[in-house]
């Protein structure tokens, strides 16, 4: 059985609880063991890099060291957490002096970074065996048109040279595997604005507007995301986008794990479906109803 040290990240506690719930459910069905990292701390998001990069790395290194101590690779559902931890892991592995310095700090918590583990994004882990995903999709989401939204930090910066950050297909392939229809969502790799929704509201609302418009133009019923910040910006701020630009968007936004879970016959409530601002579209409701007969 595949085992991972699971790093939920701050958002999955409450704001993106449905992401957490659906992740646990899907992992169970796929036979992947997710052991929540004990006493994990915030990854620091982008804020720490604005002030002290060494401190930013220390925050991530604590989590990495704990995953190492548990003897497992670390998996993060949030693209922001994933990017930070992956980059920290890579930097510390490459820069001996940096690792020594941060290890000196980690001593205060009886931890040590040895560079022995890898960091994965949840979607990477869940799409490793698409045949298995398809086999478990006993309730395929037929007729559901999905705009797969990668966002930015899940791909960028490159984690290794020549990584395909311009034409990835794994999200589309995943949607196909669960019986849904991925649409040609041209802006799938464009940033949603993330924290800009607070630090430059005007810019972020405009970025979200472009994404929503493109999703609608591409014929999507829903947008699927792999990051809590993206979900919040795209969905919870839709009203504000409409107020700002006079648009009438009503595009539901779900986590890819919720869609996966639904396709696996897991009841909607267990996947946190219903905690969104917008109701699922007809095609999804049909699938939800099928799972209710359990």
């Amino acid at each position: 059985m595949k085992q991972f040290a699971y790093f939920p990240g701050c958002s999955l506690e409450k704001m993106a609880q449905s992401y957490h719930l659906s992740t646990i459910e899907v992992a169970r069905v796929l036979g992947i063991e997710l052991q929540e990292l004990e006493d994990w701390n915030c990854c620091g998001a982008t804020a720490y890099f604005h002030v002290d990069e060494l401190l930013a790395h220390t925050l991530c290194a604590r989590n990495l060291a704990m995953a190492e101590a548990a003897g497992m690779d670390l998996v993060a559902p949030c693209s922001g957490c994933y990017k930070n931890m992956h980059a920290c892991n890579a930097h510390l592995k490459k820069d001996r002096d940096l690792a020594d310095h941060i290890n000196f700090a980690l001593e205060e918590d009886n931890l040590h970074f040895n560079g022995k583990i890898n960091v994965r994004h949840l979607i990477e882990v869940f799409t490793e065996d698409l045949k298995e995903v398809k086999a478990k999709a006993t309730n395929p989401l037929a007729g559901l048109k999905v705009a797969p939204y990668y966002g930015c930090q899940i791909l960028r910066p490159r984690k290794y040279e020549r990584e395909n950050v311009e034409e990835p297909r794994y999200f589309e392939d995943l949607m196909t595997a669960i019986g849904a229809t991925p649409v040609d969502f041209l802006l799938r790799l464009r940033c949603c604005g993330a924290a800009l929704i607070i630090t430059n509201r005007e810019a972020a609302l405009s970025m979200v507007r472009n994404l929503l418009q493109n999703a609608v133009d591409s014929g999507a019923d829903v947008i699927a995301t792999a990051c809590p910040l993206c979900q919040v910006n795209l969905e919870c701020y839709q009203d504000q986008v409409n107020a700002e630009f006079g648009t009438k968007f009503s595009v539901p936004v779900f986590y890819f794990t919720q869609l996966m879970g639904l396709s696996m016959g897991i009841p909607a409530k267990q996947l946190g479906i219903g905690t969104e601002f917008l109701s699922p579209p007809a095609a999804m409701l049909a699938a939800c109803r099928k799972t209710a007969v359990v």
Partner: protein, 185 residues
């Protein structure tokens, strides 16, 4: 040894540990400006900002809002034909202006980042509601109402944390931080 250090060199010093090609290698192709999703909202787009750095326009560069509006999407970094880590430059400039406490007064970014960091220092985790204090009062009435509506909806859907989470080994965590930044008791 040169007797004066140019601003361009100062930036190179700031980014001494950054990967990729030095900022001075920029050939002004404009790819970064063209691809930046926030470009329209920056007073100076990335390409021009780099040219200003190269031209030594220190005060003008530090007075721009550009880097504080960077969303860290790294689109510029992966597309720069010279391989310059432009997003890293933006982070560096943010650090530079925070350390000097020198940035336009009405920017939300610096206050937001500082609030975020202090929050984590206190508990080891972030807590969204307290972040609202850093920007709420910069909003106009209309926006405030919209934010309040959004927050209420989140609360009704059970998505707003009521109490801040706290890590268990908080004392160790704080001492760990002090080994990096030697401030405090």
């Amino acid at each position: 040894m040169a007797t004066t250090v140019t601003f361009c060199q100062e930036i190179a010093n700031l980014l001494h540990a950054a990967g990729g090609t030095p900022v001075s290698a920029c050939m002004q192709c404009g790819t970064c400006s063209g691809t930046c999703p926030v470009g329209d909202f920056m007073d100076v787009r990335p390409q021009r900002l780099i040219r200003m750095i190269d031209a030594g326009l220190k005060d003008k560069v530090l007075a721009t809002r550009s880097f504080w509006y960077c969303a860290s999407c790294y689109q510029c970094t992966v597309r720069c034909p010279r391989g310059i880590d432009i997003a890293e430059l933006m982070y560096g400039l943010k650090r530079y202006t925070i350390w000097k406490n020198q940035y336009p007064e009405d920017l939300v970014g610096p206050t937001f980042s500082e609030t975020f960091i202090k929050n984590i220092m206190r508990t080891g985790r972030s807590y969204e509601p307290v972040l609202a204090t850093s920007y709420f009062f910069t909003l106009g009435i209309k926006e405030m109402l919209q934010e309040a509506q959004g927050a209420t909806m989140l609360m009704l859907k059970g998505r707003l944390p009521v109490l801040p989470a706290r890590i268990k080994r908080l004392e160790n965590f704080k001492r760990m931080i002090q080994r990096i930044i030697p401030l405090g008791d």
